[in-house]
């Protein structure tokens, strides 16, 4: 498989501030690659460097093996779908899409053919004559993407394009974008702060924090095997226990929790004895009222604080005995847990192999007032 985009040791400093710190990654031809991270992690800076709008402080950028590090933005085989879409209000839909082709000096006949072809592909075959302000949010999205795709770029860059859409449309567009990418086969590089978008659409996701990549992998890898505390907390939701780790003479680790309970954890190369550790367990890894015979499960008593009903995504908000932490436990809608009410005392448990431990670290995952 050829590499559509190869980034080597890319760094960007603004005076003393390092926005992008020595990042390297490759994107395979035809894949959907997402860069996921909170606001201010440097993902937009990274994207603009790939597009050519920023000049890197250090590093190289290659497209299909060719070094284009110092090429001007309009000479690179990449196109950018802007966050605000940047559709030209002074032109109709056809002219918007035709813009890049016209600048290349292509013949009118070819332009008409290509534009109409692309309009069909994005599912808006008769929209050529419409004005930009007559389009809906989802339609504008597709026109913005069509405008870039018509130029057949090596890589299509997308800067959080779904941010301005309302929730239901966003859900719909996630699927549409994925289908579109598969259909046209162009390599997509997509940046977002919404981990759900990244997970649903991507073949590969890079989790970015403070200018560097924490982990690069498939959504499944990131979800089930987060390689750092940040990834564990940023991707998906996760319950966090402050624990102290102890190793006994046989090399078996136990994690002591605030309420005095001990949990068994699997020994992995990263963990060691210490006072300040975080234990992570996913909500769906927690079993409600596990059978007494569940071998090796870590079990504890909790009080139900609230039932967070959300259809298939329902959860229980619980508080462990002897602690003030709040945990989130997946609540399957299979009727067997319908009897649980607030203030009930129940037991929850999990298989030790489903938890991960990292040195204690608190991350700013989102903006708070």
């Amino acid at each position: 498989m050829q590499t559509a985009l190869s980034v080597k040791n890319l760094t960007k400093k603004f005076n003393a501030f390092t926005a992008v710190d020595n990042i390297s990654f490759d994107v395979e031809e035809g894949k959907f690659f997402s860069i996921l991270g909170p606001s201010g992690c440097g993902k937009t800076t990274l994207l603009r460097m790939i597009a050519g709008f920023y000049t890197q402080t250090d590093g190289r950028i290659e497209f299909r093996g060719q070094d284009m590090t110092n090429f001007a933005p309009n000479k690179r085989p990449v196109n950018l779908v802007f966050q605000s879409l940047a559709l030209f209000p002074m032109m109709n839909v056809f002219e918007n899409i035709a813009f890049g082709l016209r600048r290349r000096g292509e013949k009118s006949v070819d332009i008409t053919r290509k534009v109409n072809d692309l309009l069909e592909r994005v599912g808006l075959p008769d929209s050529g004559k419409k004005q930009v302000n007559q389009l809906s949010g989802g339609q504008k999205q597709r026109i913005a993407i069509a405008r870039c795709l018509v130029l057949e770029p090596t890589v299509l860059l997308l800067d959080e394009p779904l941010g301005a859409l309302d929730a239901k449309l966003r859900e719909h567009m996630k699927v549409e974008l994925k289908k579109l990418q598969l259909q046209v086969g162009t390599t997509f590089v997509y940046i977002t702060h919404d981990q759900s978008e990244a997970m649903v659409m991507s073949d590969q996701v890079a989790v970015m924090n403070a200018g560097h990549f924490e982990q690069v992998g498939t959504p499944q890898e990131l979800y089930h095997h987060p390689s750092s505390s940040f990834v564990a907390q940023f991707v998906g939701s996760n319950n966090k226990f402050h624990v102290a780790l102890r190793k006994d003479d046989h090399g078996i680790f136990t994690a002591r929790y605030a309420n005095g309970k001990d949990f068994s954890v699997l020994p992995t190369p990263e963990i060691s004895e210490g006072e300040a550790w975080d234990l992570f367990v996913r909500p769906e890894a927690m079993v409600i009222n596990p059978a007494e015979t569940a071998a090796g499960y870590n079990v504890m008593h909790v009080e139900v604080k609230a039932i967070l009903f959300d259809g298939g995504n329902s959860r229980l908000l619980v508080c462990p005995e002897g602690s003030t932490d709040e945990l989130v436990v997946a609540l399957p809608q299979t009727k067997q847990f319908d009897h649980i009410k607030a203030n009930d005392s129940i037991r929850i448990g999990w298989d030790p192999s489903k938890s991960v431990c990292y040195k204690r670290a608190d991350w700013k995952l989102y903006d708070e007032e």
């Binding site: 709008f53 309009n74 966050q83 605000s84 940047a86 030209f88 002074m90």
Partner: protein
């Protein structure tokens, strides 16, 4: 709404309506109607009364009058285009290129000179450019000129003066529309392969058209009706139409002729604007501030 409320509402309306109505009718509508009436009348002296077309006929018969008007109109159009040509890059620099911290300062610097009286600003050019003026004295002493050259009282200088005094009325609307131009549109055009000239042609100017047109109309009317600048910087050679109006009314005391000229100025300039709007396919509605 209670009855008393309606009464006070009506009183409020009358309170605002009456002064405005009186102002517009007594100071604008009626005077211009009177102007029109006088232009069709004889001078009232020596039994010369009643409806007549001779004031207007004089305009068309006497070459000096309509030639002066044509000259004034052509130069006004030229000045308008010159002003547009200068205003666009200046506005572009301030809204899109200058460092954000300096923008406020630059805008103030841009506008302050225009609050100073036109007379003083023209006077400044006079003492700079006339034969005994600053530039001449400077260049002669530096050896660049062998002897002083009269830089005033020619068409080029007059045009420069007109550009100078009307500049602001184009820059303000153009800055207004350019500020509304989203930077990401320019970035997107760039990303799609457009060069700078193509971006000006396809994105910036089409976007700014309403501002350019409204500024253009104001500049054109301002320059056409200008009296001080052509008079002081063009001197006897100015041949500006407003001078004809002044002469008729103040010098020759021929108010009827002056009225006719005044009306012709209004009508013909409105005609020119209408034609230009049609040519550039703009509608007046879109352009009214």
């Amino acid at each position: 709404m209670t009855k008393s409320n309606r009464k006070t509402v009506n009183a409020g309306f009358v309170l605002f309506f009456l002064p405005v109505f009186l102002w517009l009718f007594l100071l604008v509508v009626l005077p211009h109607l009177e102007l029109l009436r006088l232009s069709f009348s004889g001078s009232g002296r020596a039994g010369d009364t009643g409806f007549t077309l001779k004031n207007y006929a004089a305009f068309f018969k006497e070459p000096i009058y309509w030639l002066t008007f044509v000259r004034t109109a052509m130069y006004s159009i030229l000045v308008t285009f010159l002003v547009i040509a200068i205003a666009l890059p200046v506005a572009f620099y301030i809204t899109k290129l200058a460092r954000v911290k300096t923008v406020g300062f630059l805008m103030v610097m841009l506008m302050v000179p225009f609050w100073v009286s036109e007379l003083i600003r023209v006077y400044g050019w006079i003492i700079l450019l006339r034969e005994s003026g600053v530039l001449n004295k400077l260049f002669v002493s530096l050896g660049l000129f062998k002897e002083p050259i009269e830089l005033l009282y020619n068409d080029a200088t007059m045009i420069m003066g007109l550009v100078y005094t009307s500049m602001l009325f184009m820059i303000v609307p153009v800055i207004g529309v350019m500020e509304d131009l989203d930077d990401s549109l320019i970035e997107a055009a760039y990303d799609l392969g457009a060069g700078r000239l193509a971006i000006w042609r396809t994105i910036i100017i089409p976007h700014c058209m309403p501002g350019i047109v409204s500024g253009g109309i104001i500049v054109f009317m301002l320059v056409l009706g200008s009296y001080l600048t052509p008079n002081l910087m063009g001197g006897k050679n100015s041949l500006w139409f407003t001078e004809q109006i002044y002469n008729q009314i103040i010098l020759y005391f021929n108010w009827n002729q002056g009225a006719a000229f005044g009306f012709l100025l209004l009508v013909l300039s409105s005609l020119i604007i209408w034609v230009l709007l049609k040519l550039t396919r703009q509608s007046l509605k879109e352009v009214v501030k």
